[in-house]
């Protein structure tokens, strides 16, 4: 986990069960706006007051990319209908490929449209995502920004390593729950992927399951994606986070896992 500025080429987009990193040319503007409500202001007041409303607009915006020549690969993007939410995770690597602890933008938003165009020999596409969001998450957590818990990699055993100190926790346990997003890309059997946390130290023995944040037992021979929230919107979340996998019949699962921490009650 590094800090500081970075370049666009270190970003990675995961859309449902697709690793779009090699196909995305731009994405944005990552809208995260709060409704602004003006106070009634007498004429003689020199300043006018505003407060944040409950309505929050969150959207990844527009995704631009290029299609792979292999049929059945990225053109599958077009198959995501506007009537269902797409799970989208954009990991921001800090001057390197994304690693655990790096910032992520996570959301579940329906794809509004999809346009593929022939462009000088390549076929490019544009897809807009809605600025609405699952109302449960908007109401409870109010933010799409979190931390990457597990960067794209295959795992063949449970995690007994330390995690990372989530910078969004500011060095303390938070009590506003949160949610995880996950994307799997290859797998060969059943397993359970979980976010674990620690309120005390960043040591293996200190970590335990974060209530609610688990995929449950799934067959990962089919690629999966999802968004799962903590047990309640007031679940305590320790400052240290890490990934965990319980392999049942699976020998290997390749996945990306993120966690968005609630930072205040909404």
């Amino acid at each position: 986990m590094a800090t500081g500025r970075t370049l666009g080429r270190y970003g990675r987009l995961y859309l449902n069960t697709l690793d779009m990193g090699s196909y995305t040319t731009s994405i944005g503007p990552f809208t995260h706006e709060f409704e602004v409500i003006p106070f009634e202001t007498p004429m003689v007041d020199e300043v006018r007051g505003y407060m944040l409303g409950r309505a929050i607009t969150i959207s990844p915006g527009k995704v631009n990319g290029v299609l792979h020549a292999r049929s059945g690969d990225v053109p599958m993007v077009a198959q995501y209908p506007a009537s269902t939410n797409s799970i989208l995770t954009y990991a921001v690597g800090i001057r390197a490929a994304p690693a655990a602890g790096d910032p992520v933008f996570c959301t579940a938003a329906p794809m509004l449209n999809y346009l593929a165009t022939e462009s000088g020999g390549a076929v490019t596409f544009t897809a807009d995502f809605a600025d609405t969001w699952r109302q449960t998450y908007v109401g409870k957590y109010g933010t799409p920004w979190g931390a990457l818990v597990h960067a794209y990699a295959a795992r063949t055993a449970a995690n007994s390593s330390a995690g990372f100190d989530d910078p969004l926790a500011s060095g303390a346990t938070t009590n506003f729950g949160g949610y995880m997003t996950y994307h799997t890309f290859t797998g060969d059997g059943t397993a359970t992927i979980t976010v674990q946390h620690s309120t005390t130290t960043n040591e293996n023995a200190s970590f335990g399951d974060l209530g609610g944040c688990t995929t449950g037992e799934l067959d990962f021979s089919t690629n999966r994606t999802g968004i799962v929230e903590t047990t309640t919107a007031t679940t305590a979340v320790g400052r240290y986070l890490r990934w965990q996998i319980a392999l049942n019949s699976a020998n290997t699962v390749t996945f990306v896992l993120s966690f968005v921490r609630g930072l205040r009650a909404y």
Binding site: G4, R5, L7, R95, A96
Partner: protein, 147 residues
């Protein structure tokens, strides 16, 4: 944070290329040993295209992005009797080895971006003493984050 130009030239000098010795800014030879191939900072016109973009408010502590080009001279084979065009292909091979090594880097200490950008001069190159070599000039584009 200061500019990392000397760190970058040091990092470039540390790149490993078979049959090529890469030199730092404080190692530029007046007359390179004719039995070897060298890549070293071009003394005349080493740094060009300097630009600075401010990315935040502030004075000394403002976030800034600095970009520039570094020009290197590659002296492949000293031209002389028995060393005319018969060694040209090997010179080309060594130039490509330099480019390949640069492209293979995941990063370069001191720079945010490091790319071979141009080979503006290819053929007969003069070393600082004026001797003729089969070689070329290679331009590297550098981006640095300041602060």
């Amino acid at each position: 944070m200061a500019l990392a130009l000397l760190t970058i030239t040091n990092s470039i000098a540390a790149i490993s290329v078979t049959n090529v010795t890469i030199l730092d800014a404080d190692q530029i030879p007046l007359e390179p040993d004719s039995r070897a191939s060298y890549l070293f900072p071009k003394p005349n016109g080493f740094l060009t295209g300097f630009s600075l973009t401010r990315n935040s408010q502030g004075q000394r502590t403002a976030l800034m992005t600095v970009e520039y080009d570094l020009h290197y001279t590659f002296c492949g084979f000293r031209i002389g009797k028995g060393r005319m065009l018969e060694i040209y292909a090997e010179m080309v091979t060594r130039v490509m080895a330099i480019i390949d090594a640069a492209l293979a880097l995941d990063g370069l200490t001191g720079a945010v971006e490091f790319d071979p950008q141009d080979i503006p001069d290819f053929g007969v190159i003069n070393d600082p003493a004026g001797n003729a070599w089969h070689g070329c000039e290679i331009t590297f584009h550098i981006m640095e984050f300041v602060n």
